[in-house]
């Protein structure tokens, strides 16, 4: 495959940045999108140019490190992470536009790499349960109804990649918040801190500069883990309950 790549290059947080166009050839359709970028970077290295900086880690779709807005879609055209997106999803001769996540709380560090530590601070503000450490408790000592356990498990698949923010026209992280609130709020262990958790996490979300949700649904469509939109309803319901309880 021969491709034309239009890639956002930005030499540091304060650089203005812009789109640069590159040609790559000899791309196999079995390569992942990141391997295709590796080929480009080898070409750039050989020519003595600065390679394109992008995030990646596990490259098996479970860590949440890779990102990229590909042709206007977070993680590209398939419901998966960029590392699990393969070049067979594209055609020979395609022009592919690659940009970093765009959000004020996700500042660009370099090229396609953004700083997502705002998510870490949201987790630190309440995305945990407080439990004494020690030997593992007996698994069945705290019963969890199966439907609640399944829902918690399904939304616990959120890898915090930030695709929801990148896809949202408002730059809101409500799907991420909703996933964490639902995950912990459905389980017995999450109950003691349930109301302070939602208020503190939403407070941190707003403080970081993420936008408000308008229930548009771009986030759920972009989520590589298929977190459904109803977690945002759960988030709103929990916040409303917290409000009623005086938090």
């Amino acid at each position: 495959m021969n491709l034309t790549l239009k890639i956002w290059r930005q030499n540091g947080p304060d650089d203005k940045g812009g789109i640069h166009t590159y040609q790559v050839s000899g791309i196999s359709q079995d390569m992942s999108f990141l391997e295709m970028l590796d080929v480009l970077n080898e070409q750039l290295n050989e020519k003595g140019e600065e390679p394109v900086a992008f995030d990646s880690d596990c490259r098996e779709g479970i860590c949440g490190m890779c990102s990229l807005m590909i042709n206007g879609e977070a993680h590209g055209p398939e419901v998966t992470t960029t590392c699990q997106l393969h070049m067979r999803s594209f055609n020979d001769g395609d022009t592919i536009t690659v940009e970093p996540w765009r959000a004020e709380p996700f500042p660009v560090i370099k090229d396609l790499v953004v700083d997502r530590s705002a998510f870490d601070r949201i987790i630190q503000s309440g995305g945990f349960i407080s439990a004494n450490t020690g030997s593992a408790p007996e698994a069945n000592s705290v019963p969890a109804p199966r439907d609640k356990a399944m829902r918690a498990f399904n939304v616990a698949t959120c890898i915090g990649c930030g695709a929801c923010v990148a896809a949202c026209p408002n730059g809101s992280a409500s799907l991420f918040l909703g996933a964490k609130i639902t995950h912990l709020g459905e389980l017995p262990q999450g109950q003691p801190e349930r109301w302070t958790r939602v208020v503190d996490m939403v407070g941190q979300h707003d403080h970081e500069g993420f936008g408000g949700c308008t229930n548009i649904g771009e986030c759920a469509a972009a989520c590589p883990k298929e977190i459904p939109l109803d977690v945002i309803s759960q988030l709103n319901k929990d916040l409303r309950t917290a409000l009623k309880n005086g938090h």
């Binding site: 239009k6 956002w8 789109i19 807005m69 042709n71 206007g72 879609e73 536009t97 940009e99 765009r102 959000a103 004020e104 709380p105 503000s125 896809a167 026209p169 408002n170 730059g171 809101s172 939602v198 208020v199 503190d200 939403v202 407070g203 941190q204 979300h205 707003d206 403080h207 500069g209 993420f210 936008g211 408000g212 949700c213 308008t214 229930n215 548009i216 649904g217 771009e218 986030c219 759920a220 469509a221 972009a222 459904p228 939109l229 109803d230 945002i232 309803s233 759960q234 988030l235 709103n236 319901k237 929990d238 916040l239 409303r240 917290a242 409000l243 938090h247």
Partner: protein, 229 residues
């Protein structure tokens, strides 16, 4: 952030938007029902308009019910707009650098036009009040006043461009209600499952079609001569 207050969050703003929006849904449903009285003829329509002013008497003063409604709606409008402006500004600040390429993968047209659609409806409401309630601007016939609302209605929609203006406004209203109904239910936390979310979406369709369709029936019927003086 430790020690955050629920009332200071963006979700609190959204809740205010949802509650004020639900009030508007109730109002437009009632207003649309009243308009359909035009099909029952001049007497029934004018009687209905007159009765709105007497509703609640003698417990309420003349036009008392109407003024309670008006004050309530004005407060709701102010709350709705103030929250929308605050959230719009936050959204703009949250994405200072735009994408070169951005696709819409999961959103409806109605959901993406809420803000400009809302402004369109606001401008229309000002025009509508000048036209029908304050009766200051009446392009069809300066003579027809508030004494005969039926005549005012027929005179107005006998003008083809007025009918088109109102129909366009109903398109804007229908789009706003389509997403607004669903969005308010989601914001109120009533769509916690796939089934309830599908029901909320269906409710959005029903409210939009019933309200925008019901409102449109009257001007269209005047234009084609089903309703006449």
């Amino acid at each position: 952030m430790k020690g955050s207050r629920a009332v200071r969050t963006t979700i609190a703003l959204k809740l205010l938007m949802a509650v004020s929006g639900v009030l508007f849904i109730g109002f437009v449903l009632g207003h649309m029902y009243g308009n359909l009285k035009a099909f029952a003829g001049e007497g029934a329509f004018n009687e209905y308009a007159h009765h709105l002013r007497e509703l609640g008497e003698p417990m309420l003063p003349h036009e008392g019910f109407l003024w309670i409604m008006r004050v309530g709606l004005i407060v709701a409008v102010i709350v709705h707009i103030a929250c929308a402006v605050a959230l719009w500004r936050r959204a703009a600040a949250a994405r200072p650098v735009q994408y070169v390429a951005k696709k819409n993968a999961g959103s409806s047209l109605s959901s993406r036009t809420m803000r400009w659609g809302g402004i369109t409806i606001l401008v229309f409401v000002v025009w509508h009040l000048l036209n029908f309630t304050i009766v200051k601007v009446n392009p069809s016939n300066g003579e027809t006043g508030g004494d005969n609302p039926y005549a005012l209605l027929v005179d107005t929609f006998d003008l083809w461009w007025m009918t088109i203006l109102y129909l366009l406004a109903m398109v804007a209203l229908g789009l706003h209600l389509h997403h607004g109904t669903f969005s308010s239910l989601q914001t109120l936390g009533l769509t916690g499952s796939a089934v309830s979310r599908a029901r909320a979406r269906a409710t959005g369709w029903i409210v939009a079609i019933v309200v925008a369709g019901g409102f449109s029936l009257v001007p269209l019927s005047v234009l084609v001569g089903i309703i006449e003086k």
